[in-house]
Amino acid sequence: MNMLASYLTLAAVLFCIGLYGVITKRNAIIVLLSVELMLNAVNLNLIAFAKYGVQPSITGQIFSLFTMTVAAAEAAVGVAILVAVYRSRASVNVDEFDELRR
């Protein structure tokens, strides 16, 4: 069996676990971390293709570096928003954030 398929399968599993966490977890921080997990699953795919793809290339790794940078920015902004919201609402539970409804 091809190693690539194993990596892809692992990435899919991680992605789905992250997705499940995003949908079901109440705590906003865990939701953010689950998003990071999903991004990592994607990174794993990129790096796996960089080695086992039809045209092995370093570009996949560079792309994953960019992804990581964006993810870091996202995490920083996310936590900042979380802290700001916490100040006004005294809660970090996602199910209490229903501003979109109004």
Binding site: S6, C16, T24, N40, V54, D95
Partner: protein, 173 residues
């Protein structure tokens, strides 16, 4: 799943690290305390860094440890400390949401695995350069200079924004 696997070193390493990653992720969903969850995910990130090493991406693995384990997770833990938390499961569960989410995720997983197994991956026509870190450096500062700079600008903006958002003290009301 077929088990006609040749037990190479790479595969053993992959297998161990994959188990670690999945266990970390699953545990993260099962813990009740938020800090435990965060740490458990950090464990997953470390495992992924190991996998990157296996995949000849030493530099990315290094960045992974530095960024995710060192920065993001710590940032999250700081976030946890700055806010007050109830443990998961203390409030009323949302069985419908959880059931549907589980079904949806399993279906998606099934589709993905089916697609992966169904796809035909030809053997790679070549191999990565021996010293990937050097190559990444060359590429980043030559061909990829403009995206690199753009990303750095993005990062700066994001951090300034984060500071501006989080810094605001209670204004007298």
């Amino acid at each position: 799943m077929s088990f006609n696997i040749d037990w190479t070193g790479e595969f053993i390493a992959f297998f161990a690290l994959a188990v670690c990653a999945i266990v970390g992720a699953v545990m993260a969903l099962n813990f009740t305390k938020v800090v435990h969850m965060a740490l458990s995910l950090a464990f997953t990130f470390v495992s992924l860094a190991g996998l990157y090493v296996v995949l000849d991406a030493e530099f990315v693995a290094f960045v992974q440890v530095l960024l995710y384990v060192g920065a993001v997770t710590i940032l999250m833990i700081f976030g946890i400390m700055m806010t007050k938390h109830q443990d998961e499961g203390q409030e009323a569960a949302r069985p419908l949401l959880e059931t549907l989410a589980a079904i949806g995720c399993l279906c998606l997983l099934a589709i993905l695995i089916f697609a992966i197994r169904d796809a035909d991956f030809p053997d790679p026509a070549g191999s990565l350069p021996a010293d990937t870190t050097r190559e990444i450096g060359k590429l980043l500062f030559a061909r990829m200079a403009i995206p690199f700079e753009l990303v750095s600008v993005l990062l700066t903006v994001a951090f300034i924004g984060a500071v501006a958002l989080a810094k605001r003290e209670e204004e007298p009301k």
